[in-house]
């Protein structure tokens, strides 16, 4: 098992190299002089030259990439053009709110989508099923900020039940943290729940038509143990796969959600960096998020053996 994990980790290296090369090359994709572009239209020649110097833009392309990558591997993602602070430090300062938002959102998604998906598959073709499917397609179509603003309008502005914006650390004031997290994680979780509920339903339907489900019923098992003990575990692999892939949507959603709710996380950092054309920060954030995404999907691959004993890693 351990050697399998190590080999799978090794197999992600080429992917991550390509990701890093791509992210590094972004500056040059636009064409023209990156230093001038970063400095903006009104910059003087001296300023442009200074940026060129800071970023080492005078060196050959590949050697610049190697330098950048080596530094990145050592945890040095360069310096922000705006605040002159190390990018790594900027990201680390912002990790907590983003991590918390991700966790609360995932809880919302799991609590909402999997029961709904099971319910729909169990009631396939009936009104409950239709309602869940309508929720799934609507939830998947409504953008996060629409859900977010409707939520803010009613819960925060009209009824004053929840704080409008901002973030409190759970380590300082837990109830306040929860209050701040309700709307963001619901807004962000709705889209993902729609996706996961849909795949849960499809996967459960597939499983429910299998012979071993008939066997379970022939034993005299009720619906509940049949669905939860016999069917769900068999349906799990496609579900966790989609959850893993949905992390991409989640990361994209974090950027929007943190903007709407003024949560000082990595997503907000990204948006600020774009508005300030702070390219080292953009590259750093991209690299970190992509790395997390690849690792999550590796973890998903490895989790398959928990659900299905036929999948063995050697």
């Amino acid at each position: 098992m351990l050697s399998y994990i190590l080999r799978r980790l090794a197999a992600t290296i080429p992917t991550l190299l390509i990701v890093s090369l791509f992210i590094f090359s972004l500056l040059y994709i636009g064409g023209g002089d990156p230093a001038a572009m970063l400095a903006g239209g009104e910059a003087s020649a001296v300023e442009v030259e200074k940026i060129r110097e800071t970023l080492g833009l005078n060196d050959p392309y590949l050697s610049r990439y190697m330098d950048w990558l080596t530094a990145a591997l050592q945890g040095d993602l360069g310096q922000s053009l705006y605040s002159q602070k190390p990018v790594t430090e900027l990201i680390l300062q912002r990790v907590e709110p983003t991590a918390m938002l991700t966790v609360t959102t995932m809880i919302v998604v799991l609590v909402l989508s999997i029961p709904l998906g099971i319910l729909a598959a169990w009631q396939a073709g009936r009104a409950t099923d239709r309602a869940v499917m309508i929720f799934a397609v609507v939830g998947f179509s409504v953008p996060i900020f629409v859900v977010a603003y409707v939520g803010i309008y009613f819960f925060s502005v009209q009824w004053r039940l929840l704080p409008v914006q901002g973030y409190t650390s759970p380590f300082e004031d837990f109830p306040d943290f929860l209050g701040h997290m309700v709307l963001p994680s619901l807004a962000l979780g709705l889209t993902l729940s729609a996706l996961v509920a849909r795949i849960t339903r499809a996967s459960m339907l597939e499983v429910l038509s299998q012979h071993y489900i008939r066997t379970a019923r022939a034993k005299g098992l009720g619906d509940r143990p049949m669905l939860l003990r016999h069917a769900l575990k068999n349906a799990a692999v496609p579900i966790v796969t989609v959850i893993g892939l949905a992390v991409a949507t989640l990361i994209g959603g974090v950027v929007v959600t943190e903007t709407v709710f003024a949560i000082p996380g990595v997503g907000r950092l990204t948006v600020d960096a774009i508005l300030r054309r702070d390219f080292p920060v953009i590259q750093g954030v991209l690299l970190v998020f992509s790395f997390v995404y690849v690792l999550v999907n590796l973890a998903v691959d490895l989790s398959y053996s928990l659900f299905d004993p036929r999948i063995r890693y050697r």
Partner: protein, 289 residues
């Protein structure tokens, strides 16, 4: 043999009618999308004012007879802006769908046909797909600057790998089919096999995938514009309008509400078409509905 292997493509009006009756979501989706499309095309004559015209005395007005959807913080007519915004959303959605389907088809066919090209292309696609689509598009927009063309380009880059993988999968699975092997054995050139057998079989899945790409692109365009990395600020796109409305949300929710609703409705329509097409064209999946 070829006939049985090809997925059912509606060829006659009669079959189309049967398909629509069995999958009413296509009809619903097309109806809503058709209305939005009509509104967008007829924007100049659809009782709109100039979307950029400022009425300084009518700022932040709720919906009235003069301004159906109210006015924004500069006193611009939200109804007019929303109708013109539909143009941007539809142009971006359709363009990204068309471009990424074309690019994905080309890459997928090459990858599915040549093992060396496959190894290289798949590595690259894996890499690109490891970057969450929103972030990839954001980064591309950051280097290329605001503009509708750049939005389309950035979203095409983000959406193409998925399409390419799909096409590659279809080609690879078809290569194992007896009728392709027979064509190879009978000496058909690979190019003609690609055109005659492979291409038609990619039509159905591409149609479905293209629809989903269109819906995703509309959402992503709004996201990009919303965070200030999409269409230029002076363009009345739905994302821009919602971004502008943020500060006034508590007193004038209509600035965000109407473009948000229209966007949701349009994306919903496209997704409904996609779901219906998928069920109609893929009998294996349809069975589960």
């Amino acid at each position: 043999m070829t006939d049985t292997a090809n997925p059912p493509v509606p060829a006659t009006p009669g079959r189309l009618r049967v398909m629509l009756r069995r999958h009413p979501t296509i009809l619903w989706g097309s109806g809503i999308l058709g209305l939005v499309l009509l509104l967008a095309v007829l924007a100049p004559v659809a009782f709109t004012a100039d979307p950029r015209q400022v009425f300084p005395l009518d700022r932040l007005k709720p919906p009235t007879g003069a301004h159906w959807f109210g006015t924004d913080m500069l006193g611009r007519d939200i109804y007019s802006r929303t109708v013109y915004g539909a143009r941007i959303s539809l142009i971006v959605g359709f363009s990204v769908a068309a471009c990424s389907v074309a690019a994905g088809l080309a890459i997928g066919l090459v990858a599915g046909s040549n093992r060396w090209a496959d190894a290289v292309l798949m590595r690259i696609l894996d890499g690109v797909m490891s970057i969450p689509a929103v972030l990839l598009a954001i980064a591309l927009m950051a280097v290329s600057g605001a503009g509708i063309g750049n939005v389309i380009l950035a979203l095409t880059v983000a959406e193409t790998p998925g399409v390419a993988r799909l096409v590659r999968g279809v080609v690879l699975s078809l290569r194992e089919q007896p009728f392709i092997e027979a064509a190879v054995a009978s000496g058909s050139r690979y190019g003609s096999i690609l055109l005659r057998h492979m291409l038609p079989n990619t039509v159905a899945p591409l149609l479905v995938q293209g629809t989903y790409v269109c819906a995703a692109a509309m959402l992503l365009e709004a996201v990009l514009s919303f965070i200030g990395a999409g269409t230029p600020p002076d363009v009345p796109s739905w994302g821009n309008m919602m971004a502008e409305g943020r500060a006034y949300f508590a007193i004038a929710p209509q600035i965000i509400l109407f473009p948000g609703l229209l966007l949701s409705l349009t994306v919903l329509a496209v997704n409904l078409i996609g779901d219906g097409l998928r069920d109609a064209l893929d009998p294996r999946l349809a069975r589960q509905h």
